[in-house]
Amino acid sequence: MGRTSAAMAVFLFLLLSLFSILQLVSSSPEIRVLSAERRIDVTAPIARVFLTLKVENAGTSEVSEVLVAFAPTEAEHLAILKASVAEGKRKKKTYVPLSVNPSESPDAPNGAQLYSVSLRSPLKSGEATTVEVLYVLTHLLEPFPAEISQSEPQLVYYRDSATLLSPYHIVEQITSIKTPSNKVESFTRVDPASRVGSELRYGPYHDHGPYSYSPVIVHFENNNPFAVVEELVREIEISHWGSLQIRDHYKLKHAGARHKGVFSRLEYQFKQSVSGVASFRHLLMKLPPRVHSVYYRDEIGNISSSHLHIDSQKSELEIEPRYPLFGGWKATFTIGYGLPLQDFLFESHDGRRYLNFSFGCPLIETMVDDLTVKVILPEGSRNPTAAVPFPVDQHLEMTYSYLDVVGRTTVVLQKKNVVPEHNTPFQVYYDFNPVFMFAEPLMLISAVFLFFVACIAYVHVDLSIGKSS
C-alpha cells in the first residue's frame, strides 16, 4: 500500500516537472547555434552520433534549456541520449552530465521529436556555452540488397540529413560520417561534400534556419556482425550464503541482409576470405572478474565451443553458437555463472542491503531489443526498491526456488532497445533479516528428525489385528 502511494507521488512529481518544462520551453526561443559539429559513426551495426553544439543566448531572458530535435525515424530508433558539458581547461577538462528529458513543442514540424537538455546554470543573455550530446540509434542501417548469398558482402543504407535538424538557427555546421571501410558504393552529394578514405564529410554549411532538412543516403559495405539479441532475460539470484547466480537467456539473431539460397560448408571452410564475410561465428562477452562455474548451453544440451579467459581485472568469455550465423539465422542459448557475493552486495548507511550490478548485456557491441532483468532476492526480504539511471518498466513478482515456502521477491526491470551504453550500474535496495537464512536448513533438519521419529514409532507400534499367543 505504502509503495503504491509513493509511486503515485513520484508520478505526480514527474507530471508537474514536465509541465513546468513545457512552460519554460515555450517562453524561450531566443537561442542561436553558433557552430554544430556532428560525427556519425556507422562502423558498427549501431549508429553512434557525437554532436557538439555551441549555443548562444541571443534573446533577452535567461535560458536554462537547450532543445535537440530528432526526425521521426530517428526518434523511433533512439536508444540512448546523453548530454554533457565540458568544464575546466585543457588537461583538467571534465565532462559533467546534464539531465535530458523528452519535450514537446507545438511548432515542431512533421512529428519531429524534441528533447530538452537542462543546462547546469542558466545562460544569461549574450552568453555562449558548448554542449556535447551523444546519442545512439539502433536498427537504422538498412541492408540493401536485402538478401545476399553466401559469397556476397553486406551493403547497407544509412539515411540522414546533411544538415542538423534543430529548432534553432544554425550559423555553421559540419557533419562527418565514418564508415567501416573504403568501400562506399554511393552517397548523396550536397555541396560541399567530400569523401576521404572511410570518412564522408558534409559541410561546412552556413546559416540554416530552424528545422532545415536535406536528406542524404549513404550506401556502403558493412560486414560487422549484425548480432542482435531479440530477447534477453537475465536472472540474478542472490544467496546470502555467499554467491550470486546469474542466468542469461539469449535469443540471438543475425539482423543483417538475409541469407539467400545455398549454404555450402565447403566454401565456408576452404574459402574463408570471400565466403560468408557477412556472417559471424564468435561473440565476445565481458564478465566480471572472479567469475566461476560458467556454463553455456541451450535447450538440447551443452555447447562445447567456448573459451574463458580470466584475469584479475575482468573475465572474457568467447562463445561460438552451434553454427555460424548468416543473415536471418537465429540461435538461442543460456549462459550462467556464479560470482562471489561480496563483490556485489553491500550494506547502505541506513542498514539496508543493496545489490550493485551492471545493467545491460555483457556481449560487447550488441544491441538488445527487449531486455528483462530479474533480481531474485533471498526469501524473506522486504521493501525492494530499484535505482536505475534511466527510465525502465518495473514490477515485482514471486519466484519459487529450492524448498521455498513463501517465495522469493523478484524485482523485474524491463527495457526495450538496449545498447552497450546502458551497461551502467544499477542498485536494488531491500531489507533482509539474516534469520531467514536458516529457515531452509532448519526445515530439512526437522524433516529428517520427523522421519526418524516416524521410523521409531513404526518399529515400536504393533499394528497387527489379531494377537496370537
Binding site: F263, R265, L266, Y323, Y400, L403, D462
Partner: protein, 782 residues
C-alpha cells in the same frame, strides 16, 4: 543354562548389529549402483542419450506440460507425416509416468529441477531400486548373505549398466526393477502364502506391464514355474495363493494399459497363464477331493474324471488350436515369434532384423556383459539344488529361460543379467560361507595345539554339528521375535523347521582344509576384484557415450564432434515450424525431440510401408526421389555422412537396409542392382544404380573438393563418382565435420510456354543430362 541364555543375548545383539550393518551395506550398494552410472554425466554432460530416450523425453515433456488426460489422448502430428501417431495408446506409459511424477513431486516441493534432469537421473535411481529388489528376491531364495552379494553384483553388472547409465532414459531402466520386484513378491507369496503379498504382486506386475513389453516374460515364466511345481508334486495352497490372484488381478490390471488392452486376453503370449490357471484349479480340486475321500474312492473318482476330462480337454484344445492357427501369425506378434524362431525376423521382417540389438549375441558379448558371472552361474544353479525349495526352483527356471532368450536377441541379455547376478550371488555367498566356516572352526585349534592330530577334523566336525544346532536353535528362538507383527508367523516357522533339518545333513560334510579355504577365499576375492575392475571399465569407457556427441583423443587433446546437435539446432531455429524433414528412421525421434520438426518416419517403425517409401526414395535416382518426397510434402532431407571424419554408423553403411526394406514393398528396388558381384561398394567399381541413387548423391555432393580425391575414411576408398551436380535438391546446411547434411527440395520449375515442347522432343532423343544443361543455359540464375 546360564551359558545358553548368555549366548542367546549375544546372539540377539549380533543380530541387531547384523541388521544395521546389512542396512548400511544396502545403502552403500544403492549409492554404488547410482554413482557408477554417472560416468556419462561426468565424462560428457547431463544429456539424454541415443534414440529412444529422446522420444521418452519428449513424451515426458508433453506429460509435464499438459497433464495426464491430454497425454492419454495425445495424437502426435509431428511424426509419421501425414499419418500421425496416437502416442497415448501406443506407448508403455510406465517410464514417463514415473519420471513425470518424480518431477511433479519435486516441483511441488519447490525443487526446480528441469524435466531433462529428472529424466537423465531416472535410470540410475531405478538401478539402485533394482539392486535392492535383487537383495529382497535373493533373500527369499537363499538368505541375507546371498542377497547382499547378489545386490552388489547387480549394482555393477555391465549388461544392466549399458541400459541404465545416466541419460539412458529408456523403458528397460525401470522395467528391470519392476521385473525383479515382481519376482520377489511372487517368491515372497510362495514362501509365506500371504494374500497381502499376492495383491502387491499383481500391482507390481501392473507396473511392469506399464513399463515394458517384456512383461510377457513374467506372465509366461510364472505359469511355467507353477506347472513345474505341480508336476514335481510341490503343489501347496501357497502356490495357489501366489498364482491365482496374479492371473486374475494381473490380467484385469494389464488390460487397463491402453497399449495392451484386449491383447491381455486375446494374444497367444498370454494363453499359457490361462491354461495353467485352469490346471491349478483342477489340481486344487483334486487335492481337495483327495482330502475328503478315502483312498479307494479317490482312485475310482480319478479314473472317472480323467477319462471325461481328457475328452473335454482334447475338444477344447482342438478348438483353441484351430482358432489360433486361423490367424496368419498364429496369434503371436512378430517380436515374440522371432524369439521362438530366431530365423523368423531375418526371413520375413527386415525392419526387426535391421536393428543391431535384435541380432543374436556373440560369445564375447557374454563375457563383456556379465563377465565372471558366466562362470559362477553353474555353481549357483548347483547351490539352488542344495536344498531345492519352491523359490530356488523358480530361480533355476528363470536362469535357464533367460539364457535361451539372451541367445536369441542381444537386447534380452538384460533379462539374463539379474538372474546371473542372483545365481552368482548365491554361489559366492555359499562358497564364502563354507570357506569362512572352515577357517573359523580350525583357526582356534591352530593356536591351541600346533600339531594337528588325526582326530582333529573329527572334533571339528563335531563342533560343526554343535554350532549348527546352536545356530538352529538361535534361529528358531529369534525368528518369531524378529517380526512379531506379521500375521504369517506359522508359515515362517514351517520354513525355519525345514531349514533346520536340512543343514544338519548338508553342512556336516563341508569342512575344508584351512589352507585350501584361505587360498580359495583369496581367489574369490581376486575374482570379485576382476569383476569390479571390468564393470568400472565398462561403465566408464564402453557404455557411457551418449552417441549424439562424440569425442576423440588426438595429439592436441580432446576433440568434440557435436554435429548432430548442430544440425538439429539449425533446423529448430532456421526452418519454418511446420516444415517436414525426411531422414532415415533412425533419426526420427531425435529430429522431433531436438529440432521440433515434423518427420516422415521414426524409430517406432510401426508402419513398414511408410519406411519402405522413404527407403525407396533414398535408393532412387534424384528425380523420382524428388517426386516421392514432394508427394510427402517434405521440405528438407537430412542425411548422416561419416566419410570425412570416419564416423562408421552413417547412412551409407545403413543404405543396404534401406534398399532391402524399400524393395520389400516396392519391387522395382532390387538389392542386386546396388551390389557388384554381391559386394557392397561405393568406389569406381560400384554399379551405376548405386552411384546415381539419392543417398549416394546427397552424401558425396561436393565431397571431392575437400581433398581433391574424394577419399572416404569409413569405407577406406576413393568414391566412384566424384563430380556431379544436384538438380532437384540444394544444400542448405552441412555441419562442421560434415556429419549431417541437410538438403532442401527445390521448388518445381516454372514451365516456360513453348519451351516445353522442345524439351520434350529433346528428352526423346537425348538423355536427361543434356536437357538439364539446356535448362541451365536458359535460366542462369537457377
Amino acid at each position: 543354562m546360564a551359558a545358553s541364555s548368555e549366548t542367546k543375548g549375544e546372539g540377539t545383539l549380533r543380530k541387531a548389529f547384523g541388521g544395521v550393518l546389512g542396512f548400511f551395506i544396502l545403502l552403500l550398494i544403492g549409492a554404488l549402483a547410482f554413482s557408477i552410472r554417472l560416468f556419462s554425466v561426468i565424462k560428457y554432460e547431463s544429456v539424454i542419450h541415443e534414440f529412444d530416450p529422446y522420444f521418452n523425453y519428449r513424451v515426458t515433456q508433453f506429460l509435464t506440460k499438459n497433464g495426464i488426460y491430454d497425454f492419454w489422448n495425445w495424437f502426435d502430428d509431428r511424426t509419421w507425416y501425414p499419418l500421425g501417431r496416437v502416442i497415448g495408446g501406443t506407448v508403455y506409459p510406465g517410464l514417463t509416468l514415473t519420471a513425470g511424477s518424480i518431477w511433479w513431486l519435486l516441483n511441488n516441493l519447490n525443487i526446480p529441477l528441469s524435466v531433462e534432469t529428472v529424466c537423465v537421473f531416472t535410470a540410475p535411481i531405478f538401478s539402485a531400486n533394482a539392486s535392492w529388489a535383487t537383495y529382497l528376491l535373493t533373500k527369499e531364495v537363499k538368505g541375507t548373505g546371498a542377497g547382499l552379494t547378489a545386490a552388489a553384483l547387480l549394482a555393477l553388472v555391465p549388461s544392466y549398466i549399458s541400459r541404465s547409465v545416466a541419460g539412458s532414459y529408456d523403458n528397460e531402466a525401470v522395467a528391470i526393477f519392476a521385473l525383479i520386484f515382481t519376482f520377489y513378491l511372487y517368491t515372497k507369496t510362495l514362501n509365506t502364502g500371504s494374500l497381502f503379498y499376492a495383491t502387491l504382486n499383481a500391482l507390481s506386475y501392473f507396473y511392469m506391464v506399464c513399463s515394458w513389453g517384456g512383461y510377457t516374460f513374467i506372465i509366461n515364466l510364472i505359469p511355467m514355474h507353477v506347472l513345474l511345481c505341480i508336476v514335481t508334486g510341490r503343489y501347496s495352497p501357497r502356490l495357489y495363493i501366489a498364482y491365482a490372484p496374479l492371473v486374475v488381478l494381473g490380467t484385469l490390471l494389464a488390460s487397463l494399459v491402453p497399449v495392451v488392452g484386449f491383447n491381455a486376453v486375446m494374444t497367444s503370449e498370454h494363453f499359457a497363464s490361462f491354461l495353467v490357471f485352469i490346471i491349478i484349479h483342477v489340481v486344487a480340486l483334486v487335492y481337495y477331493i483327495k482330502g475328503i475321500l478315502s483312498p479307494k474312492m479317490f482312485k475310482v473318482a480319478v479314473t472317472l474324471v480323467v477319462t471325461i476330462g481328457i475328452a473335454v480337454c482334447c475338444a477344447v484344445l482342438a478348438i483353441l488350436i484351430a482358432l489360433v492357427a486361423s490367424s496368419p501369425t498364429k496369434g503371436w506378434s512378430g517380436r515374440s515369434l522371432s524369439l521362438l524362431d530366431p530365423t523368423y525376423a531375418s526371413k520375413y521382417i527386415p525392419i526387426i532384423a535391421s536393428v543391431s540389438e535384435h541380432q543374436p549375441p556373440t560369445w564375447p558379448s557374454y563375457f563383456m556383459d556379465i563377465n565372471v558371472l558366466a562362470f559362477l552361474v553353474p555353481a549357483g544353479i548347483v547351490a539352488c539344488f542344495l536344498p531345492l525349495s519352491d523359490a530356488s526352483s523358480f530361480m533355476v527356471l528363470y536362469i535357464t529361460t533367460s539364457v535361451y532368450f539372451s541367445g536369441v536377441m542381444v537386447r534380452l541379455m538384460l533379462v539374463l543379467a539379474p538372474a546371473a547376478c542372483i545365481m552368482s550371488g548365491i554361489a559366492l555367498s555359499e562358497a564364502f560361507d563354507v570357506f569362512t566356516r572352515s577357517i573359523k572352526l580350525q583357526l582356534p585349534k591352530l593356536f591351541e595345539s600346533p600339531p594337528p592330530g588325526s582326530g582333529d577334523i573329527d572334533s571339528a566336525q563335531d563342533e560343526v554339528v554343535k554350532v549348527d544346532n546352536k545356530a538352529a536353535t538361535d534361529k528358531s528362538e529369534t525368528a518369531p521375535k524378529e517380526r512379531p507383527s506379521k500375521k504369517n508367523r506359522k508359515k515362517e516357522k514351517e520354513i525355519v523347521e525345514t531349514t533346520i533339518k536340512r543343514p544338519l545333513k548338508a553342512k556336516r560334510l563341508l569342512v575344508l582344509p584351512l589352507e585350501a579355504s584361505a587360498v580359495a577365499i583369496l581367489l574369490l576375492i581376486i575374482l570379485g576384484a576382476f569383476y569390479v575392475v571390468h564393470c568400472v571399465w565398462a561403465a566408464a569407457e564402453a557404455y557411457s557415450a551418449p552417441s549424439i556427441v562424440l569425442t576423440s583423443h588426438s595429439h592436441d587433446g580432446l576433440h568434440v564432434f557435436d554435429d548432430f546437435r548442430e544440425a538439429y539446432a539449425w533446423l529448430r531455429h532456421n526452418t519454418d515450424v511446420d516444415d517436414k524433414v525426411a531422414s532415415w528412421w533412425d533419426y526420427g525421434y531425435q529430429t522431433t525431440a531436438m529440432a521440433n520438426r515434423t518427420v516422415i518416419v521414426d524409430n517406432n517403425t510401426w508402419n513398414n510401408t511408410h519406411i519402405a517409401t522413404v527407403g525407396t526414395a533414398m535408393s532412387s535416382p534424384e528425380k523420382p526421389a524428388w517426386e516421392i518426397f514432394n508427394s510427402l510434402d517434405v521440405k528438407y532431407v537430412l542425411v548422416v555422412f561419416g566419410g570425412l571424419v570416419g564416423y562408421p554408423s552413417d547412412d551409407i553403411n545403413k543404405f543396404l537396409w534401406m534398399v532391402r526394406i524399400g524393395g520389400g514393398v516396392f519391387p522395382h528396388i532390387r538389392e542386386p542392382d546396388y551390389l557388384r558381384d554381391g559386394q557392397y561398394r561405393i568406389d569406381a567399381q560400384a554399379t551405376p544404380t548405386m552411384l546415381n541413387c539419392l543417398m549416394y548423391k546427397l552424401s558425396y555432393y561436393r565431397f571431392v573438393e575437400t581433398d581433391g580425391k574424394g577419399f572416404d575414411r569409413v569405407r577406406r576408398t576413393e568414391i566412384g563418382k566424384k563430380h556431379f551436380k544436384l538438380t532437384h535438391f540444394e544444400e542448405v546446411f552441412t555441419t562442421h565435420h560434415w556429419m549431417v547434411r541437410i538438403y532442401k527440395l527445390k521448388p518445381p520449375k516454372n514451365r516456360i510456354r513453348g519451351k516445353s515442347k522442345k524439351s520434350k522432343s529433346n528428352s526423346k532423343t537425348s538423355p536427361s543430362n543434356s536437357r538439364r544443361h539446356g535448362n541451365l543455359r536458359k535460366n542462369p540464375w537457377q
